[in-house]
């Protein structure tokens, strides 16, 4: 298993800098944009305004998104260990976003997108609160983060 973006809820301030800077990475045709609606990490809060949660792919060991994909477009990269979506193969059906119980896969321009773990993630760099970290994958911390995502869905 490779790396993933770990999220520490206790430090989050709900500022959305992560999704702002993430979106800058996915700029097209050299038109640089801050466009949070295409980000691979998205922030929300619970109804009581007591929990702030940044949803980002957990790089699951057995990814439900991949199992649900009718086009087999979602696979694990054998080199990095990250779960990736082949944009050419993606049908845009949304089965993966439905299947992911952690709300870590998003639809952008009728294609499924998710965090595929940048080498030097801008979301981590932009997080002044220190709530995001690039870490080695381990089952225990993924389980904990996943429970938070189930408690506070997008």
């Amino acid at each position: 298993m490779g790396k993933r973006i770990a999220f520490n809820e206790a430090l989050c301030t709900n500022c959305h800098l992560c999704s702002m800077f993430c979106s800058l990475v996915f700029t097209e045709n050299r038109i640089y944009q801050f466009r949070p609606s295409i980000a691979r990490i998205r922030v929300t809060e619970n109804a009581e305004d007591t929990l702030y949660v940044a949803h980002v792919c957990l790089q699951c060991e057995v990814p439900a998104c991949a199992e649900a994909c009718p086009a087999d477009a979602i696979t694990r990269n054998p080199v990095t260990g990250h779960v990736e979506i082949d944009q050419e193969a993606c049908l845009g059906c949304g089965s993966c976003t439905e299947a992911c119980e952690f709300d870590g896969v998003f639809m952008v321009n009728d294609k499924a997108v998710k965090c595929e773990v940048c080498d030097e993630p801008l979301c981590v760099r932009a997080c002044a609160a220190g709530a995001l970290q690039l870490v080695d994958w381990d089952a225990a911390s993924v389980l904990e983060q996943g429970e938070l995502y189930r408690e506070v869905p997008l």
């Binding site: 301030t13 709900n14 500022c15 959305h16 800098l17 702002m20 800077f21 979106s23 800058l24 700029t27 038109i31 640089y32 944009q33 801050f34 466009r35 949070p36 609606s37 295409i38 305004d49 007591t50 702030y52 801008l122 760099r125 932009a126 002044a128 609160a129």
Partner: protein, 601 residues
């Protein structure tokens, strides 16, 4: 365009028509956005002598080219209009999440004109724009309104709205977005209420183009630097209420309607006390690394109940020290009431403190108010806040503002404000430059058209005597010009006003976002242009030197505390040099040469 979205939305509420037009690039280059672009639009289009609460007034929602650009604290918008409180130009600023939705929906400006026959709200879902019936939320508080409109539109919609205070035309009604952030000052909420516009709800999914993303990445480095500096650490930990300690330590915490400068119960309403008693967690506005926001909740089983944001420092002063309330939970409750009913906490507090002094003087009686109104009586203040918001009894008069009440009850000098707007929480007798700033602010006693804490109290960039007139005119002019530019950009004042190199940084960010190379001097000049244009707006309405005034309490009654004991504000002396350095005549009117050299006409 880089930075600007390129589209102006016009909403004629009288006929219910929405139109879009391209943003004039020259207007954007010369006046940037925020209060700059808005005052230019108003000067070109507004019927100047209009009734602020009549259909002819224009209400402008506007962001700036730096909003949602990864630059420091880039989640702000402004509401600009002719104020029903002061009769001047006014521009009220707010953060939260609404400004980001506004900008990413694809608009720089929304201009509201006319008056709707029945209550409506504007629903903007990217390109789709429509006016909708607001029957279900008229009369509701701001939080309920937000919930109702989200249910009627989209769960991702951000809502900016008025509460009962705006509907009832309270002259200092606020516009509240995201349930707790306020474009608070000058009665912008009453203008909205008078137009029959309950709310603006926006969902935005677009992007903001920037010219030079590499330079903008530096923003994250600067943010880290700020977070590690003493002030950054204190700001994130205590929020703006940390200023209670700063002001009290320097004996400039306005107390008992500015009679005094030290509040004995300051320790009970400061940032540390909030952490101990009411703080759920700290919270940031969109795109902000400072997280000064306070997410709070009143403890279960206590006398007062509720949840929300704050109080901010200004409320700790206005509804705390200045009315002698040292009970944090009562103060927090008052803050919630203001946010829910849509009142500016500062002018609410300023009006109540004037009323308390009038009551003490015997000029107004318990019979006229409905109950006694003595210093420090939080429950009486709470009752009065509800009466102000609903326009009930004496609340109707109090809703006209502190100046109105003070004049009506025969003691105009007990109103602590300028041009009809109550002061913010910095006592000018102990920092006289702040007095000059209040007197010359285009919108009256306002702390966001510049602030002199850094130079006068913290000695940044270099120490200056807070009690002397020396160098104050020059310093105030610089702060006012810089602030005008920052606010035109659609970002928060805090990081740029607190950092010594703030102006250099915003010039660099502005250049990187827009691709238009600007130096520090260039942006100061734009700020000067904006400030002069606001002055010109007021001049056309008859405002001049006579209105650049301060209450006698500041200019004639000696200070009571600390090193400033015995001091007063030497206003006339400072005004003379201020006008000269501004290039205005001795009556405070900008000369043709000055306006011409700034490219105004």
């Amino acid at each position: 365009m880089n930075g600007w979205m390129g589209t102006v939305l016009r909403v004629d509420l009288t006929v219910g028509r929405v139109t879009k037009e391209p943003l004039d690039p020259l207007l954007a280059r010369n006046y940037v956005g925020g209060r700059g672009m808005a005052v230019k639009i108003l000067l070109d289009e507004l019927k100047m002598d209009c009734d602020p609460l009549g259909p002819d007034n224009m209400l402008i929602f506007i962001n700036g080219p730096l909003t949602v650009t990864g630059t420091l604290c880039s989640g702000r918008y402004m509401v600009v209009t002719k104020s029903p409180l002061t009769g001047t130009i006014c521009s009220s600023n707010s953060g939260g999440y609404f400004p980001a939705a506004f900008k990413t929906a694809g608009y720089d400006v929304i201009i509201f004109t006319g008056k709707s026959k029945k209550p409506v709200y504007l629903w903007v879902n990217d390109d789709h724009v429509e006016l909708r019936d607001a029957g279900a939320c008229w009369g509701r508080d701001t939080r309920e309104t937000c919930d109702i409109i989200r249910r009627e539109t989209h769960k991702e919609a951000c809502v900016s709205c008025i509460g009962p205070a705006g509907e009832n035309l309270v002259r200092y009604a606020a516009i509240i977005n995201d349930g707790a952030r306020a474009a608070a000052r000058s009665g912008v909420g009453a203008v909205m209420g008078a137009k029959g516009l309950k709310a603006v709800a926006i969902r935005g999914t677009g992007g903001v183009r920037v010219a030079d993303p590499e330079t903008l990445l530096k923003s994250t480095v600067i943010a880290d630097h700020i977070k590690k500096a003493d002030l950054g650490i204190a700001f994130a930990e205590f929020g703006t209420p940390l200023f209670v300690d700063v002001m009290n330590a320097n004996n400039i915490m306005p107390t008992k309607n500015f009679q005094e400068g030290f509040f004995e119960a300051g320790d009970e309403i400061n940032g540390a006390e909030i952490i101990d008693r009411t703080l759920v967690r700290s919270k940031a506005c969109y795109g902000c690394a400072l997280n000064c926001g306070r997410n709070t909740r009143l403890p279960e089983g206590g006398k007062y109940q509720g949840r929300g944001d704050g109080p901010e420092y200004e409320t700790c002063y206005s509804l705390g020290s200045n009315i002698m309330v040292g009970d944090l939970e009562a103060l927090t409750k008052m803050n919630y009431i203001c946010n829910e009913t849509g009142l500016d906490t500062m002018d609410a507090g300023s009006t109540i403190s004037a009323a308390m002094e009038l009551y003490e003087m015997g000029r107004i009686t318990a019979g006229e108010i409905g109950f006694p109104l003595v210093w420090g009586d939080a429950d009486a203040a709470i009752q009065l806040l509800y009466m102000i918001a609903s326009g009930e009894g004496f609340g109707r008069e109090a809703g006209m503002g502190g100046r109105y009440v003070a004049e009506k009850y025969g003691a105009p000098d007990v109103f602590m404000g300028s041009k009809g707007q109550g002061f913010a929480g910095y006592h000018p007798r102990g920092m006289v430059g702040q007095g000059l700033l209040y007197a010359t602010s285009p919108e009256g006693g306002n702390h966001t058209t510049g602030n002199t804490i850094q130079p006068e109290i913290n000695g940044i960039p270099e120490p200056m005597d807070p009690l002397s007139a020396e160098g104050k005119a020059e310093m105030v002019i610089r702060r006012q010009n810089e602030t005008a530019f920052i606010e035109a950009c659609g970002v928060c004042l805090f990081p740029y006003m607190l950092m010594e190199e703030g102006t250099e940084i915003i010039a660099e960010f502005y250049s990187a976002v827009t691709g238009l190379e600007h130096t520090e001097d260039d942006v100061r000049r734009i700020g000067e242009r904006i400030f002069n244009l606001e002055r010109e707006f007021n001049r056309r309405l008859g405002f001049d030197r006579k209105d650049d005034s301060l209450p006698k309490r500041l200019t004639h009654e000696p200070h009571t505390d600390g090193i400033a004991e015995g001091n007063v504000v030497p206003l006339e002396e400072m005004l003379d040099s201020y006008y000269r350095l501004r290039g205005w005549d001795s009556n405070g009117v900008p000369t043709g040469d000055t306006l011409g050299s700034l490219g105004i006409f």
